[in-house]
Amino acid sequence: MLEKVLKLLEGGKGIDEIARELRVPKEEVVGAMEVLADLGYLERVESGDSCAACPLKSVCPGSCFRFKGRVYQPVDFRLGGGKGTFKP
């Protein structure tokens, strides 16, 4: 299932579509994504700390958007020389 999820994600499929296609609850797809992220095949995209960390907070209207979803992106990976040094 893990590899199927990765393949579908790389193909641009969303969580709902994958859950329907693999006939598993959405929570299981998200869980598989978390495991893939732990392994380094997906990247958890940080949405930043918006205004809190901004040095210009005192002069800006302090109206940063609060993004509540979690965002992932497949990591470009190739066997024998991919993204990280820990990879083969």
């Binding site: 598989a32 994504m33 609060r66 965002v71 992932y72």
Partner: protein, 658 residues
């Protein structure tokens, strides 16, 4: 001596609820030694025995890619716990059992599974045969509904029994393909004669080595030497070549298959996992066409709400500031001081501050949409469109942040690894209308468009976003090319917002607007007043402001605007709200402004204000995040774009008779 109980599990499975139910108020929060990961400990007593409960960081696996995982893994590996309570969410068994398998694979025998949310699983038609699960996994399983406190006493009983050695376990160990198993045995054999055999489970070490775990590689290197280790790693590389995949993925994937096989033996889905109301809503709100229509609809209603409630309040506030100025004027004898305070500060800052109700209502509406969970859905729709226009997936978050403020949005481009992606995102970013520009748009829409304010504001926003997408497309096609990358957004649950949180958040955001009015707008108002009053009063054509504006007037006329627009736009570079304060100082009142321009001119001014040069803070942020060259390029292309759009709207509008 107190027995130590470790609580391990995925994030959000109810670990903290169980921890609280076990320990009550007898808790202590600190940090794990050497790292800034929170360590929670608590004490409980059951059947005359005292226990120390340690809440391990929530993790999905026990790799060493994050500090949380490392902390949890080290604690378990060192055998620091007398009992490991693995909290498992019954509604998402597969992903939870992945961690369970990682724990059991370590060779730990003192494991109890706390099967939480069993009530919720039953409601969703997931039937778990707990007895069978216990037999198959080889460790005790305690069903729980921790929120209601159901099953906590049974869990305590099992903990006591395990610490007294009254429970015998035979934990299941995940099995892999014959080829992987052969590799595991090969590594196990190589490690057998070393000291590692005394301290670690060799099968676990072998699996981790196959997965190229950094920590285990270093450990094995110390005991086996580089020659032997190189030979093992070479061997692993050969297996990977045969599988055409990396070993960590092969092992994780086969572990998932193993769990799937186990689950078939103790889990039954009694009814189809049908579509919930939330799923149906998501399908509509994130649909490429309906989702976009919904987005326009929601934002139209948002502007309608802001204008309908905010404009009457804004008018009242405007009257208050004008009356205050009229009352104060005779109290100040000194003419220069009177001019500065009444015509400069009160007229300038007052005209901006009168928009506070609109700003507050906008933030209130946005906070509600965020808390309900709609904004994340809107983001999915926008991301899909952005991707079509060649924007890199990761640029989506900085661009969404830009609707609030462009400065942190420019800074958020740091999350983009690729330099070209960063540059595109940074260059497009200032085209997204920030909330400061909203007050200018509201000011013009309110003053010149009595019945269609919401539509006017929405059209300016939509045009700006469309232009941002077009510019991104042009840049990614001709200037900085990059590859499109898929992007996945996990949507939050729909929630009824907490009014307290919404009000607090709206106020936090709005109070910055007041702060800004009291600092940068105040300073701007003083300067604008000076320029419009010296060396001679405005109206003679000789004031500094008139002279300055006259320099740009021929150019502004191409867009149907005059020198006053030029001066206000110049000051708008410092802060966009200065466009309003400049008009406030030049004309003195909103009625006077309304009589000085046609709706078409106001629309052009609104559009040009939204699209021209970003504020000085944003330019500074772009320079800091890239260089002067890109900051200058942004200024130049935005002036060009704003002029082009302004000239086009003015000429088309006049040709159509507006």
């Amino acid at each position: 001596m107190m027995k130590v109980i470790a609580l391990a599990g995925n994030p959000n499975v109810g670990k903290t609820t169980i921890f609280n139910a076990l320990t009550g108020l007898r808790q202590h929060v600190g940090n794990w030694p050497g790292v800034t990961v929170e360590k929670k400990e608590g004490v409980f007593e059951h059947k005359g025995q005292k226990f120390l409960v340690v809440d391990l960081p929530g993790t999905y696996s026990l790799t060493t890619h994050s500090i949380d995982e490392l902390v949890a893994r080290d604690f378990l590996l060192k055998g620091s716990a007398d009992v490991v309570v693995n909290v498992v969410d019954a509604t998402a068994l597969m992903r939870n059992l992945f961690l369970t398998m990682e724990i059991l694979e370590m060779g730990l025998k003192n494991v109890i599974i706390a099967l939480n949310k069993i009530d919720l699983a039953e409601k969703r038609g997931i039937q778990i045969n707990v007895k069978r699960m216990e037999e198959i996994l080889g460790v005790p399983v305690v069903p729980l509904n921790a929120r209601e406190g159901i099953g906590i006493d049974e869990l305590k009983d099992k903990i006591v029994q395990m610490t007294r050695g009254e429970i015998k376990t035979s934990p299941i160990i995940p099995r892999y393909d014959p080829e992987v198993e052969r590799e595991i045995r090969h590594i196990e054999d190589a490690l057998k004669g070393t000291e590692l055999a005394r301290d670690y489970n060799l099968r676990w070490l072998a699996v981790k080595l196959l997965q190229r775990d950094d920590g285990v590689i270093k450990l094995v290197l110390r005991h086996l030497g580089s020659e032997k280790l190189d030979e093992i790693m070479r061997h692993i590389g050969e297996v990977e070549e045969r599988y055409r995949r990396a070993m960590d993925l092969i092992i994780a994937s086969q572990k998932y298959e193993f769990i799937d096989g186990l689950m078939h033996r103790f889990v039954k889905y009694t009814h189809e996992q049908g579509e919930t109301l939330s799923d149906q809503l998501d399908r509509f709100l994130t649909h490429p066409v309906y989702g976009l229509l919904a987005l326009f609809g929601v934002f139209y209603l948002l502007f309608k709400f802001v204008f309908a409630l905010g404009l009457p309040l804004q008018e009242e506030l405007d009257v208050v500031f004008s009356s205050f100025g009229e009352w104060l004027a005779p109290q100040i004898a000194n003419e220069t001081l009177r001019g500065l305070v009444v015509d400069g500060i009160i007229a300038g800052v007052g005209s901006v501050l009168s928009f506070f109700p609109l700003v507050f209502l906008l933030f209130l509406a946005l906070s509600i949409l965020e808390d309900v969970g709609y904004m994340a859905r809107a983001a999915v729709v926008m991301e899909r469109i952005m991707r079509k226009f060649g924007l890199p997936g990761k640029s989506f978050i900085p661009l969404v942040l830009a609707f609030g403020c462009n400065v942190p949005a420019v800074m958020a481009t740091r999350t983009l690894d690729d330099e070209r992606d960063r540059i595109i995102t940074m260059l497009v970013n200032p085209l997204i209308p920030c909330s400061a520009r909203l007050s200018v748009i509201s000011f013009l829409a309110g003053a010149f468009f009595a019945s269609h304010q919401a539509l006017v504001a929405l059209s300016i926003y939509a045009t700006a976003v469309l232009l941002a997408l077009l510019v991104a497309w042009l840049l990614s096609r001709f200037v900085v090319r990059g590859e499109e990358s898929p992007f996945i957004i996990e949507l939050p649950e729909y929630l009824i917002p907490s009014w307290k949180t919404v009000a607090l958040h709206s106020w936090e955001r709005s109070k910055e607007f007041i702060k800004k009015a009291g600092t940068i707008i105040l300073l701007g108002s003083v300067v604008i007043w000076y320029l419009s009053s010296y060396p001679v009063q405005m109206g003679t054509g000789g004031s500094y402001a008139e002279r300055l504006g006259a320099l740009f007037e021929p150019y502004m006329k191409l867009m149907g605007l005059d020198w006053k627009a030029a001066v206000s736009l110049l000051f708008g570079i410092i802060a966009k709200e200065n466009v309003i304060s400049t008009y406030g100082i030049i004309y003195g009142s909103e009625e006077a402004i309304a009589g000085a321009m046609t709706p078409l001119q106001a629309y052009v001014l609104g559009m040009v204000t939204t699209l021209y040069v970003p504020c000085i803070a944003t330019i500074g942020a772009i320079r800091a995040e890239s260089n002067w060259k890109w900051a200058a390029f942004t200024v130049v292309y935005m002036i060009g774009l704003a002029s082009l759009v302004g000239i086009l709207i003015w000429n088309v509008g006049t040709a159509l008779g507006y």
